[in-house]
Amino acid sequence: MTRYLLRRLLVAVPTLLLITTLGFALLHAAPGGPFDADKRMLPAIQQAIEARYHLHEPLWRQYLRYLGQLAHGDLGPSFQYRGTSVNQIIAQGLPVDAAVGLSALALALLAGGGIGVTAALREGGAWDHAAMALAAVGISVPLFVLAPLLVLIFAVTLHWLPAGDWVAGSPSHLLLPALALALPYAGYIARLMRGSTLEVLNSPFIRTAQAKGLPSHHILWHHALRPALTPLVSYLGPAFAGVLTGSIVVESIFGLPGIGRFFITAALNRDYTLVMGITVLYGTLIILCNLLADLCYAWIDPRVRLA
C-alpha cells in the first residue's frame, strides 16, 4: 500500500513536469508579450519592468527559474495584478471553487445515484422511463444553456434565489451554480448506476439471498449496493476533472470570484505566471483525484490489488 502510494506520487512528477513544460512553451511561443499592450510606456520603464520579472533573460533560464520556484511552492508574482502573488490569488479564489465544485459533486452523486438505483429497481416501469429521459436531458443540454435557463426560471421569474454574485458561506448563493454544474454529471451517474445495479441484481449471489428469504431492502443495502458502486467510483476521476473545468464557465455566468474567472482574463492579458499557476494547480488536483478514485476502487472491490 505504502509502496503503491509512493510509486503513484513519483509518476505524478513527470506528469506535472510535462504540464509545466507544455504550458511554458506554449505561452512563450505565442506572439506578443505581457507588457506590449501598454503603448504609452517609456522604453526605459518597459525594460525595467521586464527586468523585474526576468523577461529579458534567455528562455531556458526563465524556465529553470520557474521550475526552481515551483519546487518551493512559489508560483511567482502576477503580471496583471501588480503587487499580488499568484499564490495569494489562488488562496482567495480556491475556497469559492471548492465550495461550488464539492457541493456540485455531492449533488450529482446523491441525485444521480438515487435516481439510477430506483430506476433499476423498477426496470421497464414508468419511473424508469421518466428517469432515463430526464438523465438524457441532463447529459444533452450543455452547461451554458442550463445555467442561463436556471437563472431565468429561479431568479428572474420566481425570485427564489439570487441570480449571481457571491456571499461567502451563504447557501442560497451557492445553490444555483452548484445545481447547474451538477446536472450533466447527475444524468451520467444515473445512467451508470442504473446499468450496474441491474447487472448486479441479475447475478447469482443476489438470487441466493432472495432464496434465503432476506427482505429486499436488506439485499439492496447490504448485498447489491457495494458491487454496483464500482463503475461509479471509476467515473469519479473524469467527473472531478469535468467539474473543475466546468467551473470556469459557471463562474463567468454567475459572476463568482473563483479561480476559473481569473484564468480567462489571465489568458487574455498574457499573465504568464497566473496562467501557469492555475494550470499547474488544475493538473495537481486532477492527479490527486485520480489517485483518490483508484484508492476508493480498491477499497470497494478488494479483488483489485494495488500493485
Binding site: 444533452s140 444553456v145 442504473r194 447487472e199 473545468t245 464557465v249 492527479i287
Partner: protein
C-alpha cells in the same frame, strides 16, 4: 457492418427517431441557401429582435441585427456539425493508430505508449485549449486541431484493449503463419475488426466535440462573428434572454436536439453491435 447489425439498429424506435432528426437537420443546414430567401449576413433594420411569427416571413423571428434567426441557426448547425465531424475524424485517426500499434506491438512499446496516454489524461485540457485559442488567433482550423488532439485518448485506450484480445484469435495466428507482419497486419486484419466499436465511440465523440466547441464559442474563444456556430448563437442569446428569450431558446433547442440525437444513435449502435446488453 453486417446486415444483421443494420436490422437490429432499425428495430430500435428511438434510434430511428434520432437518425431521422439528424438527417433532417443535416439536410436543412446543407440546403439552407436554396430553401430560404434570406441569407445569414444582411441585416434588416426594420425588424430587430422580432419574436417568432409562424405566419410571417421570419418563422423563428430575427436577431438583434434583423437577420433571420432560422437561417442563422441553420448556418450555425452547419459549422458545428462540420467541426464535430472533422475533429472526430482526426481523433479517430490518431486514436486508432496509437491504440492498435500499442496493443499489437505489446511489451515495452505498449507500456511506453500507454504511459503517454496516462500522462495526457492528467493534463487539464480545457485550460490548454483556451490558452491555445487566445494566443494563436481564433481560426476554425486551430479549433479543429486543438479539439481533435484532445479527444483521441479514450479511443486509443479502447482500441488497445480490443487489439490485445484480437491478437489471441486464431485468424491472426493464421495470417502470421501466412507471412503478414507489422503494419500490414494492423491495417488488413486488426483495424477492420475494430471498426464496429470505433463507430460507436466516434458517434459518441461527435456530440462531445460539438459541446466543447460550443463551450469555447460561449467563452468568446471559438468561431468569430459574423460566422456563427450554435455555441456562439447560444452565447449571444444568453446575454439577451430577459428581453428576447427566443434568441436563447431557438439555438439552444437545436444544439440540444443534435447532442441528444447523436447520443441516442451511439447507444443504439452499441446495443446493435453487442446485443447481450451493457447499459
Amino acid at each position: 457492418m453486417s446486415s444483421q447489425v443494420l436490422a437490429r439498429l432499425r428495430a430500435q424506435r428511438l434510434t430511428r427517431i434520432a437518425a431521422a432528426v439528424l438527417a433532417a437537420i443535416v439536410l436543412a443546414s446543407l440546403l439552407v441557401p436554396w430553401l430560404s430567401p434570406y441569407d445569414s449576413y444582411t441585416p434588416d433594420f426594420a425588424l430587430l429582435s422580432h419574436p417568432p411569427m409562424l405566419a410571417g416571413a421570419h418563422v423563428l423571428g430575427t436577431d438583434p441585427l434583423g437577420r433571420d434567426l432560422l437561417v442563422r441557426v441553420m448556418w450555425g448547425c452547419r459549422i458545428s456539425l462540420a467541426i464535430g465531424v472533422v475533429a472526430t475524424l482526426m481523433s479517430v485517426l490518431i486514436g486508432v493508430s496509437w491504440g492498435a500499434i500499442a496493443g499489437y506491438a505489446g511489451g515495452t512499446t505498449d507500456q511506453l505508449m500507454m504511459r503517454v496516454v496516462d500522462v495526457l489524461y492528467s493534463v487539464p485540457f480545457v485550460p490548454f485549449v483556451i490558452v491555445l485559442t487566445v494566443l494563436f488567433g481564433r481560426g476554425l482550423w486551430l479549433i479543429f486541431l486543438a479539439i481533435g488532439a484532445v479527444s483521441w485518448l479514450d479511443i486509443a485506450r479502447i482500441v488497445r484493449g480490443q487489439t490485445l484480445s484480437l491478437k489471441q484469435r486464431e485468424f491472426i495466428e493464421a495470417a502470421r503463419i501466412a507471412g503478414v507482419h507489422g503494419i500490414g497486419m494492423i491495417r488488413r486484419h486488426i483495424v477492420p475488426n475494430l471498426l464496429g466499436i470505433v463507430a460507436v465511440y466516434a458517434t459518441l465523440t461527435i456530440p462531445a466535440v460539438i459541446l466543447f466547441e460550443a463551450l469555447l464559442s460561449f467563452l468568446g474563444m471559438g468561431v468569430q462573428s459574423p460566422m456563427a456556430s450554435l455555441g456562439s448563437l447560444v452565447a449571444d442569446g444568453a446575454s439577451d434572454m430577459q428581453s428576447h428569450p427566443h434568441l436563447l431558446i431557438v439555438p439552444a433547442a437545436f444544439l440540444t436536439a443534435i447532442i441528444y440525437a447523436f447520443n441516442y444513435l451511439g447507444d443504439g449502435l452499441r446495443k446493435a453491435l453487442d446485443p447481450r446488453g451493457q447499459p
